[in-house]
Symmetry: C2
Subunit: 228 residues, 2 copies
Amino acid sequence: EIVDAVVGALAAGPLQGKRIIVTSGPTHEPIDPVRYIANRSSGAQGTAIAAALRALGAEVVFVTGPADVPPPDGVEVVRVETAAQMRDAVMAAHPADAAVFAAAVADWKVVGASQSKIKKQSGALPVLEFEENPDILAEVSKMGDARPALVVGFAAETDDVVAHATAKRARKGCDWIVANDVSPSTGIMGGSENAVTLITDAGAEAWPRMGKDAVARQLAARIADALV
Amino acid sequence: EIVDAVVGALAAGPLQGKRIIVTSGPTHEPIDPVRYIANRSSGAQGTAIAAALRALGAEVVFVTGPADVPPPDGVEVVRVETAAQMRDAVMAAHPADAAVFAAAVADWKVVGASQSKIKKQSGALPVLEFEENPDILAEVSKMGDARPALVVGFAAETDDVVAHATAKRARKGCDWIVANDVSPSTGIMGGSENAVTLITDAGAEAWPRMGKDAVARQLAARIADALV
């Protein structure tokens, strides 16, 4: 009853009545029944963002790949494995007022993943042919009338972070890009802190390095400002 | 004090004084700083085997890739990520009385993994060139005088399980192969049960489907019979 009361209280925030899609975690793209290609993503930042939006009263649809951290309480959880499944889950979650694409979606999948285990034979190495995965951020950004009012993408970069992220924003047609430097030397990937740059139509705004929970609360507050 | 007493009591089992290397979990082979190739492995079976050997009194060196389940208590834990790191950790753990290679080691690694994130550009797909990873099972099986008295490999197969596993035992030069069918339809991968066939010089011995803990206890008892 105490929990219900708290949830009820939280739901009365500035985002009450707003439906927001949040993606999180990596995707796994099968090579064969025992092998896959993955992106490094603990799901920590996406999970924190979903929790922060929920805390401001939003109705959150949380579409998550196989993440290390459990989903937050109080959100609708949709579990997926591949980029194609994540795309379908996102499209099924519309209409929404905003969409925040924090998942580290694989850009490519293996063409014709093998139904049986590829055998290791001396001298014979596998040849993997790739094809592009669906581009969920671009597709949602260009949905036309059904497009969420605010579409937020993420850019995990290892060099020229602001330049790459600014170009990505223009190319995808989204409203904001949350960019970060995931070079191994930053310790951000898998860590508890993040140092992000928010790219909007007003330019690039570097936020100080802070905990992933604090990044999430600040981003949720900005989303509330934009939507309300 | 109660815990210490229990550990002391367990350490007095039939494997007291025996040093056993156990590998567990998947390996992750980097493609670039944000992408990697992995084998599906929760680490559940390897972890259960290490715990069962410890319960019979063995001194266990537990070399584990990034697994879903935590390592057991009472063992020496060595954490690795790639197959090359696992090989080095295993070689450093000798001499040992037995070695149980339950890890799902990637057969291949990417040649010249990129130090920066491979960019997605329209029409340009990545070309991944592979090379073979070290074959830890074969290398340890052929160590000569320093070879553990008992070397146990695993074979995760999706078809012709016994034939593939019997051929693997002969090719690698190990003593036993624990073979299992990891076809998606079996539900074994990621599940709590396992159905294994033990391949020895006496032939193939199919064990009934049982919990992974029960498989581990039965295997540990057989290892104790073989070593003592």
